[in-house]
Symmetry: C2
DNA sequence: TAAATAATGACTGACCATCGGTCAATAAGG
DNA sequence: CCTTATTGACCGATGGTCAGTCATTATTTA
């Protein structure tokens, strides 16, 4: 009877049309008018596809996380030591230009989660954590199988992820060097482990 | 010559007048008009004492951190095991009503740091971290002296603080249980350490 | 079958309410 | 009477709404 558009797709298109704008200035500097203009639609249309400004960031993050997951999964089967894999697992997002861009927006998203967090956003965050937990599990499991690390390494998973999240915040709010921090932690941890193994 | 007010004091008073308001709803729900009314001053007066809305949160946090520092310092000399001290060091802010209130506002502040972060705010964050690092050092140093933990425990300080920051975020964005997470981490770490010591 | 008409979802931008921030005027202390 | 503090009316900008328009497809009609 009438035009039927793929809502999901259009939502994504609009969101990504203003990705660069979002990267340049934060969400706070972005106006709905700008977004609409950049996406080439009317202001009202924005509200056909998004609840509010924050919802646009949510859409972008959803895709970013999917890409990120893909990059993390590649690490699992790399031909490296477990320690190196772990380093990459935590460092990958800090390492390249693309990651930095995503990190920039992810911080905006974190800020939103902490202040405007809807149930939907919380659920998404939980899902993400479970996902990362699973990948980390795979890396550690392989390390255990190879005899590189002890079984108990699994107990560190949750704390490691929390550390990793803290690092996302700290690298920005006080300018910590991610490489140094991650290496510092892993070295110390492996130092403990090795000493134990040499029992 | 003319009226002389204690700018510092008045700034603090205004900020704390709207502390409860800030706790109820976040800063985003708060309007300058509300703040002014609650503090019993004109809207223009607010801008005599604060750069902007975010600056008000900054003022409150400054005091909170000072209180928090005080509570942390008390831990150093407690008659407990190092492990227990460490648990308290990380858990104290999650533990009681007062801490929760402060956490609520601290999260607002973190969000601001990640999005509106001025140089002044970054400097403050760095100062805070150094402060916590120092207190943590003292706790660990005592533990080393008592032979409870190895010298290398010092190498974990930075990562532990980053973990702790991540926990502040995670407890809110995905509802992690702080007690469980902190205990999980400490148990695992001490497990590693003890195994090593029994060498 | 083709033209006419109806139905419906997509789209729009003028409009509105609200809010952060400014400033000219006023008050008050010394 | 000068200096400092205070104020709230005012302003521009912005997020969000909604009544109306448009484009496409379904249905009817001849």
């Amino acid at each position: 009877m009438a035009i039927i558009v793929n809502k999901e797709k259009k939502r994504r298109n609009i969101a990504f049309a203003c990705k660069d704008l979002l990267l340049e200035n934060g969400i706070n500097e972005l106006t709905i008018a700008q977004i609409a203009k950049t996406a080439g639609v009317g202001k009202g249309t924005i509200y056909e596809y998004f609840e509010n400004k924050e919802d646009i960031v949510f859409e972008i993050i959803t895709v970013f996380i999917a890409e990120y997951e893909h990059r993390l999964l590649e690490i699992v089967d790399e031909k490296r030591s477990t320690k190196e894999k772990l380093f990459h697992f935590f460092y990958i997002i800090h390492g390249d230009e693309e990651g930095h861009k995503q990190l920039r927006i992810y911080r905006e998203f974190l800020a939103i989660s902490m202040t405007h967090g809807t149930r939907e956003i919380m659920d998404f965050n939980r899902k993400c954590r479970d996902l990362f937990l699973d990948i980390l599990s795979q890396i550690i499991e392989k390390g255990v199988e190879n005899g590189e690390i002890p079984e108990q390494a699994h107990d560190m998973k949750s704390a490691l992820l929390t550390f990793s999240l803290g690092l996302v915040v700290d690298t920005h709010t006080i300018g910590l060097d991610p490489k140094e921090e991650i290496n510092g932690l892993l070295n110390t941890l492996f130092n403990f482990i090795e000493m134990k193994e040499k029992r």
